[in-house]
């Protein structure tokens, strides 16, 4: 019988084929440099790195999920979601080393994260790069840092996202005094006297700043050395802020009690588009945070130094100190959240003060007379420290902030009423604000429990999924509703999800999806 089977099998063997190797490739959740999943406006991107693809989960209608796989480049090294959550950027190194002309090149892939996900653009790079930085205004991307035999750490590739193909790429080598790029800031258009407003890319390096004019990236960048520390050592930048209307830039520098100010001014000589005037202002101690604000006298830089808020006039470098009720170390302007029609230059700013080691928050109202600054800070004891302030998108609850604490609580703060609603969780905490700005999701990765808090009534709805939850995302459906997607990626055996109605979440109606990694295997 056995011989007979072999005989027949052998007769057919010549014409027999196998299956795609993809079926023999287990699912792998993300990689060392990428997260496992990303939430976009109308879809959830779940990386499937072993198959060099991403499974895009979208929702045709509430509770309904479909999976659509899109191929990513070979050797994916970085992925990021745009600030508006509309696009997923995927940077890949391609086939390295290249052996044939057909080998896949390094590329930057842009995926449309709407309810009908698709590749929107592809930029082919000449060399493999590993770092990706995105412009919050979605006009530029920067890729840099390679791992070749010889790597120019100061070479940036600027990708103009309004352009396509090779025309979109600008190669920029920064002149270096020995430092490497560490952080990037894309500015709004800065109103430089004598010219049109122009955006800049500020590159923070180990001991200097580089200003790249994004209106003319081919022009030579301006390198500004950072001042030394108070002990004469090498300082590094800790924070960069700017004011667009005055084209002012301020840098918080480590190891010094001074703040480094830069003013972009009219060209000082022929061939220049602008000039840079620098100044060093002593604020009396090492600042923990800085920001530009407007008070009744004009633009000021606020530096939080211990229990003092020091206001610096950028024009005269004079300072004015205000004692704070606590040593706040974080500052966030909330002027437009309180009054979208306000013009800070005329009305003065309002800022929220907070800190991760104090249990108070404060409203810093800069609209009063200069002599009344002592009463401009109104503090509230909320009982827990605040490590982060999360904005609420949309136009309905833009006057709310989520105060993230270092422990298992978070606060929903109504800036208008100044009322805060403490929310206590029974586990660790990861917060996901819905892109429509109407609710926040809280969950503890690896646990089945998660919750939704609707900003309308601040009513928390606790939910227990049937499997461990690794992420929760809130996406738009194709028919204008919203579906909450609780992903089950724990164990790395596959892609599963529980889909709920985001407007009225209930596990009594939730649907369970799994095997999503098996779709589209070719």
């Amino acid at each position: 019988m056995r011989k007979l089977a072999w005989l027949v099998w052998g007769a057919l063997a010549l014409g027999c084929g196998g299956r795609p190797s993809s079926w023999d490739t287990p699912y792998t959740a993300g990689s060392g440099t990428t997260a496992a999943a990303y939430g976009l406006t109308g879809s959830v991107a779940v990386l499937d790195t072993s198959l060099k693809r991403v499974s895009m989960l979208s929702s045709p209608s509430t509770l309904e999920l479909t999976s659509h796989s899109i191929g990513l480049g070979t050797d994916l090294v970085a992925t990021q979601v745009s600030a508006d959550r509309n696009t997923l950027f995927a940077l890949s190194r391609g086939v390295q080393p290249q052996r044939t002309p057909d080998d896949e090149r390094p590329q930057l892939l842009l995926l449309d994260g709407s309810t009908t996900p698709k590749i929107s653009k592809t930029y082919t790079l000449t060399e493999p790069m590993e770092q990706l930085v995105l412009d919050p205004q979605n006009e530029w991307a920067v890729v840099y840092g390679g791992s070749g035999v010889v790597v120019n750490l100061n070479e940036l590739v600027l990708v103009n996202l309004h352009e396509s193909g090779a025309d979109a790429l600008s190669f920029k080598t920064l002149l270096s005094f020995g430092g490497n790029p560490r952080r990037f800031t894309f500015t709004a258009p800065l109103a430089i006297p004598g010219g049109d407003p122009r955006r800049f890319l500020i590159v923070e390096r180990d001991s200097d700043l580089v200003l790249i004019d994004l209106a003319a990236p081919e022009r030579e960048a301006v390198t500004v050395p950072l001042p030394s520390t108070d002990t004469g050592g090498t300082a590094s930048s800790a924070q960069v802020v700017y004011d667009a209307d005055s084209a002012s830039i301020a840098v918080r520098v480590t190891g010094t009690t001074s703040v480094f100010m830069l003013q972009l001014a009219a060209p000082a000589s022929a061939g220049q588009d602008f000039s840079v005037v620098t100044n060093l202002v002593d604020v009396g101690g090492q600042a923990t945070a800085i920001d530009f604000v407007h008070n009744s006298q004009g633009l000021r830089l606020v530096a939080l130094v211990g229990r003092n808020a020091v206001l610096v006039d950028p024009d005269t470098a004079t300072t004015q100190s205000v004692q704070m009720p606590a040593a706040f170390s974080g500052i966030r302007r909330i002027t437009s959240e309180l009054n979208p029609a306000a013009t800070p230059a005329a009305d003065g700013d309002v800022a929220l003060l907070y800190g991760p080691s104090i249990t108070k928050i404060a409203y810093f109202n800069l609209s009063g007379a200069p002599g009344a600054l002592f009463r401009s800070i109104e503090a509230y004891d909320i009982g827990v420290p605040v490590k982060n302030v999360i904005d609420v998108p949309g136009d309905r609850y833009f006057d709310h902030k989520i105060l993230e604490t270092p422990n298992q609580q978070f606060y929903v703060l109504d800036l208008r009423t100044r009322e805060s609603a403490p929310m206590k969780t029974n586990g660790g905490l990861t917060l996901e604000v819905a892109p429509d700005g109407q609710r926040v999701w809280a969950y503890n990765p690896g646990q089945p429990g998660f919750a939704s808090v609707d900003f309308e009534n601040l009513h928390p709805v606790s939910l227990i999924a049937e499997r461990q939850v690794s992420n929760v995302f809130d996406i738009a459906t194709a028919d204008g509703q919203r579906t909450a997607v609780a992903l089950h990626l724990a164990g790395g055996v596959g892609i599963g999800a529980t889909a709920l109605d985001a407007f009225s979440p209930s596990t009594a109606y939730a649907r369970f999806y799994s095997g999503l990694e098996l779709g589209g295997v070719q």
Partner: protein
């Protein structure tokens, strides 16, 4: 040219021998009233829906057959035959264990022509009924999912049977036949929307959709039969 000439000559000799043999020995004892067979059927399934369940395209099945001659007209005879084929494949789909069980039942007429008393050729077109049970171990849901379906089709094949042994004495004189056939088996597609059994796994599980499965494809069957 010489090879082709040799082949034609051989066939002519065989035909003439067959004619002489037919005169020398009655055919009827070689046209079995009842014939039971056991063998192996190997199909080539190239449908994409088969991929999650098998790393290659073969589907090997054990094959049990039963036939009976209904009409005889000299060298020609008409038989009713039926087969039950059973086979299974196991594999993994991206790390998740999969299984596929296939039962296939075919029954219908078979036309036979005896070239020699111990050698006949046949053709048949047999309506086919298949039951497939596909399963997937769902590691996320922690449950086994199934897709169980009936499908219908037809097996069209031609083959030859050779009488290898015939008992010369006794009231019942069994004859052993070696049979080989090749053809094409058509079966309609079935859905591979994998669902756990009722009450198993999470509430309101949506199916894992692996597409459709068609087990159509060419096949070979080799079997041994005993006839009376």
């Amino acid at each position: 040219m010489s090879a082709r000439f040799g082949l034609c000559s051989g066939l002519l000799v065989a035909c003439s021998l067959a004619t002489e043999g037919a005169h020398a020995e009655p055919l009827e004892p070689h046209q079995p009233y009842v014939q039971a067979s056991i063998g192996v059927r190997v199909s080539k399934v190239s449908d994409e829906g088969y991929d999650p369940f098998a790393s290659s395209d073969e589907l090997t099945q054990v094959s049990l057959g039963l036939g009976s001659t209904l009409l005889r007209a000299q060298r020609f005879s008409l038989a009713a035959t039926g087969f039950w084929d059973y086979g299974a494949r196991s594999s993994t789909a991206r790390g998740s264990k999969t299984d596929l069980d296939v039962h296939r039942l075919t029954i219908g007429p078979e036309a036979r022509y005896h070239l020699l008393p111990p050698l006949y050729f046949f053709v048949h077109a047999l309506p086919a009924f298949a039951h497939t049970s596909a399963s997937l171990e769902d590691g996320v849901a922690g449950v086994t999912r199934y897709a169980r379906h009936w499908s219908y089709g037809v097996d069209a094949a031609a083959g030859a049977a050779f009488e290898a042994y015939a008992a010369q004495t006794g009231a019942v004189r069994p004859r052993i036949w070696v049979i080989a056939e090749g053809g094409y088996g058509y079966l309609g597609s079935t859905s591979l929307k994998m669902q756990p059994d009722s009450g198993e796994g999470p509430q309101r599980p949506e199916p894992v959709d692996l597409g459709t499965l068609s087990l159509s494809g060419p096949y070979l069957r080799v079997s041994a039969a005993v006839g009376f």
